[in-house]
């Protein structure tokens, strides 16, 4: 037992002495929380809009006012003809344009439809749709005001946004961020660390010592468990203190699930390191096999419901996917274990499977 303790101590020294890594280990989650909370947003604001008004009149001026004063839009210019639009859109100066007809005032009095063109930069279809919706609602309101009424049944839709009514990006991203940070620290760094011993030949020495193979791995891995946990606490603290992110469920449950996921990440790291021979291989394997799936396939940024069927199936084996549901459930929705036992079971199952695979490959052989 004291050999093991001594080994863990050496590993801790390694990490503590490595000031650079330590700084980043503690800094990284904080920086990311701040970035995600403040900078990385998906809301659409300050839409750069241009109006094409060939025959300005009272009505078109009223519309121009509406767009100019709307907080969602940034009126760039009012053109007389649609000619400048091409270049304006191409260079990105303008992202949306409203083209009014030349006989707007007359049309508003007559009985013919008022035909307005709404051009949106749809390079990003998502933003394009949202911009379109915003502009459409302004246009409709303007039109209602001009013509005194909306023909048609007044059916109102009272909307209630549940769990995250203000659409705080923190609430959306923080759970994924925890998974992401843990994947880097507990999985990637562990994999690289173990592979490092293999590559430099010190693994040989360790294997010949009285330490059993499992003890070697456990010792290598222990500091990263601590670091991972520390990071989780940092992220949660930052999210709560700086952004007032809610924590509606049980803190104990949350931390317990985080521990489970840390174990999952470690198991992943172990599996990678058991097959990688050099540190570079471990790094690339961790990137391609862990980080990218965690980033792209877990529901962190892109909703799983949007993915095509085959990818949705694949996402089922990405542990982060389940962890995200759990953390979001606990923090944002206030769910208890009763609602989340299914996801927890899946995560636990994946972990056991990975541990079994990793342990088996950790033989006394060196390749």
């Amino acid at each position: 037992m004291s050999a093991f303790a001594g080994f863990v101590r050496k590993e801790v020294y390694h990490i503590l002495r490595d000031k650079q890594t330590l700084w980043i280990l503690l800094l990284m989650p904080l920086v990311q929380v701040l970035l995600f909370g403040y900078a990385v947003r998906t809301d659409v604001r300050d839409i750069r809009l241009a109006l094409v008004d060939p025959a300005p009149g009272v009505a078109s001026r009223a519309l121009t006012q509406r767009f100019a004063t709307s907080p969602r839009f940034q009126l760039i210019d009012v053109y007389r003809s649609p000619l400048p639009l091409d270049e304006a859109f191409r260079s990105g100066v303008v992202r949306q344009a409203v083209v009014l007809p030349a006989d707007l005032d007359r049309a508003l009095l007559g009985h013919a439809p008022v035909s307005v063109q709404l051009v949106s930069d749809a390079s990003d279809p998502n933003t394009g749709s949202i911009m379109q919706a915003y502009a459409t609602s302004i246009l409709r309101r303007w039109h209602d005001e001009r013509t005194g009424g909306n023909p048609g049944m007044r059916v109102a839709l009272a909307t209630r946004l549940r769990y995250n009514p203000t659409l705080e990006s923190v609430n959306v991203f923080v759970p994924g961020l925890i998974a992401f940070v843990l994947t880097i620290i507990s999985a990637m760094m562990t994999a690289i660390s173990i592979t490092r011993e293999k590559e430099t030949g010190t693994m040989e020495m360790l294997l010949v010592s009285p330490l059993r193979p499992w003890a070697i791995v456990a010792g290598k891995v222990a500091p990263y468990v601590l670091l991972g946990f520390l990071n989780v606490l940092l992220v949660l603290a930052a999210a709560r203190l700086v952004f007032q992110m809610p924590l509606r469920g049980s803190v104990v449950l949350l931390l317990a699930e985080c521990l489970l996921y840390i174990l999952t990440s470690l198991a992943l790291g172990m599996v990678i390191s058991s097959r990688a021979r050099t540190q570079r291989t471990a790094m690339i394997a961790a990137l391609a096999g862990l980080l990218m799936p965690t980033l792209m396939l877990s529901g962190f940024i892109f909703p799983i419901d949007s993915m095509p069927e085959p990818l949705r199936l694949v996402s089922n084996i990405v542990p982060a996917r389940w962890f995200l549901l759990i953390v979001r459930g606990i923090m944002v929705k206030g769910a208890g274990f009763a609602a989340l036992w299914g996801e927890t079971a899946v995560l636990a199952g994946i972990t056991l499977l990975l541990l079994a695979v990793g342990a088996r490959r950790l033989s006394v052989r060196l390749d």
Binding site: T21, I24, V31, Y38, A39, V40, T42, R45, R48, R90, S91, G92, R95, L108, P113, V114, S115, V116, Q117, L118, S120, A122, S123, P125, N126, G128, S129, I130, Q132, L139, R140, G148, P151, G152, V155, L157, A158, T159, L161, R162, Y163, P165, N171, V172, M189, I192, Q279, R280, M283, I284, L287, A288, M292, F302, D305, S306, L311, L325, R328, A339
Partner: protein, 373 residues
């Protein structure tokens, strides 16, 4: 000059000799590009909808039919009370709940205004906007077809309908992949290039071969060029292959000048790899290097407008993003490939990148010392 050729030759030998390395450097990013591009979309396919139908009339059935008819919703649960709805939302059995009040059909017949209740699971944030828009569209449609409000008397001014013709430029098919594939390509190329460069140098440091080189008469400039050039070429190659794959597999738009994009990529990669090199000048082990490099890169990628629009960032972040080479390259890529912009539009960012490259290289040369202190 000759010395640089010798240095480059060694790097290429080391990379291409090992089949595993070639696999890792080329195959893996391309496979990731192919697979992950399909994941990068916000296009919600079908939202699971629960309906609390207190009216249970043909009118409410009609409404439900229309909700499903648009293809955006799938009715998974119909009840007359709200019992168990909370649970359904909690367990994600349903992600939207439509509440049809009692007297719905009667109100419609009487032409008096009616209010429906809609609850949406907003845990995924902005994505809910699309679902909301879809629901609003169905309801508005339903309202229009149900006829005008109010008693049908002469007092009602029918009004002039508004016809909004919408056009989506640059991506008429609304294909999200056209937007994301180039973004993914940039990320993957950057990740591979930067990490490989940094890790490579760190490895030589660890093994001691770097010390051996330090004792030779090669200059700092020769060393840095000899290290950067091979990886720069490799990264450019990956980028090129990625573009071809993007075109063949996803039909990404190539509206502008492709050579211009390559020029931008070439300049950009000098900056990106230069940063990797600069990082390796102050780290000691591979593990450290990979960690630092990875972190730096992550920040750059997140703040670059690749995944979330720069326009959505607060002012200070937008300012900071000006110092981000990835942001400029992404702008150039999207402007040229998707919008077909020309040199005039991208000249600014391009020059910015060139200056950045010069600065980073200068920094690296200064920082790289054959000596330890």
């Amino acid at each position: 000059m000759r010395v640089i050729l010798f240095l480059m030759r060694k790097e290429f030998l080391q990379v291409f000799r090992d089949r595993a390395t070639v696999f890792q450097i080329f195959f893996i990013p391309i496979v990731q590009l192919l697979v992950l591009s399909h994941a990068a979309t916000f296009d919600i396919k079908r939202t699971a909808l629960a309906v609390i139908d207190a009216d249970r009339s043909t009118m409410s059935m009609e409404l439900m039919r229309r909700m499903e008819g648009g293809g955006r919703f799938e009715v998974v649960l119909v009840q007359s009370t709200a019992a168990g709805i909370e649970d359904a939302l909690l367990t994600r059995r349903a992600n939207a709940v439509l509440g049809i009040p009692r007297g719905f059909a009667a109100d419609i017949a009487r032409r008096s205004p009616v209010t429906l209740q809609l609850q949406l699971n907003a845990e995924e944030g902005a994505a809910v906007g699309i679902v909301l828009a879809a629901a609003q569209a169905v309801v508005a449609d339903f309202a229009r077809s149900a006829g005008p409000t109010g008693p049908v008397t002469a007092r009602v001014v029918p009004g002039v309908p508004l016809d909004i013709r919408t056009q989506g430029w640059f991506n008429p098919s609304r294909n999200y992949k056209h937007y994301m594939v180039p973004a993914l390509l940039v990320s993957l190329t950057t990740i591979m290039g930067l990490l490989l460069t940094a890790q490579n140098i760190a490895r030589e440091k660890e093994l001691g071969t770097l010390e051996q080189l330090n004792v030779t008469p090669i200059t700092k400039g020769q060393f840095i060029t000899g290290k950067l050039l091979p990886f720069w070429l490799l990264s450019l190659l990956i980028f090129g292959i990625g573009l071809v794959v993007g075109k063949l597999a996803f039909d990404i738009p190539l509206r502008g000048s492709v050579p211009l994009v390559f020029l931008a990529a070439a300049v950009y990669l000098v900056v990106a790899l230069g940063i990797g090199l600069w990082i390796s000048t102050f780290t000691r082990t591979q593990q450290q290097t990979m960690f630092v490099a990875f972190f730096v890169m992550l920040v750059y990628l997140l703040m670059s407008g690749l995944f979330t629009p720069v326009d959505a960032m607060p002012r200070w972040a937008q300012w900071a993003a000006e110092a981000n080479p990835v942001k400029h390259f992404v702008f150039i890529m999207r402007a040229v490939l998707v919008r077909g912009a020309g040199l005039e539009t991208v000249a600014g960012p391009l020059i910015g990148l060139a200056l950045g490259g010069a600065a980073v290289l200068g920094l690296a040369v200064r920082q790289y010392s054959k000596q330890t202190t």
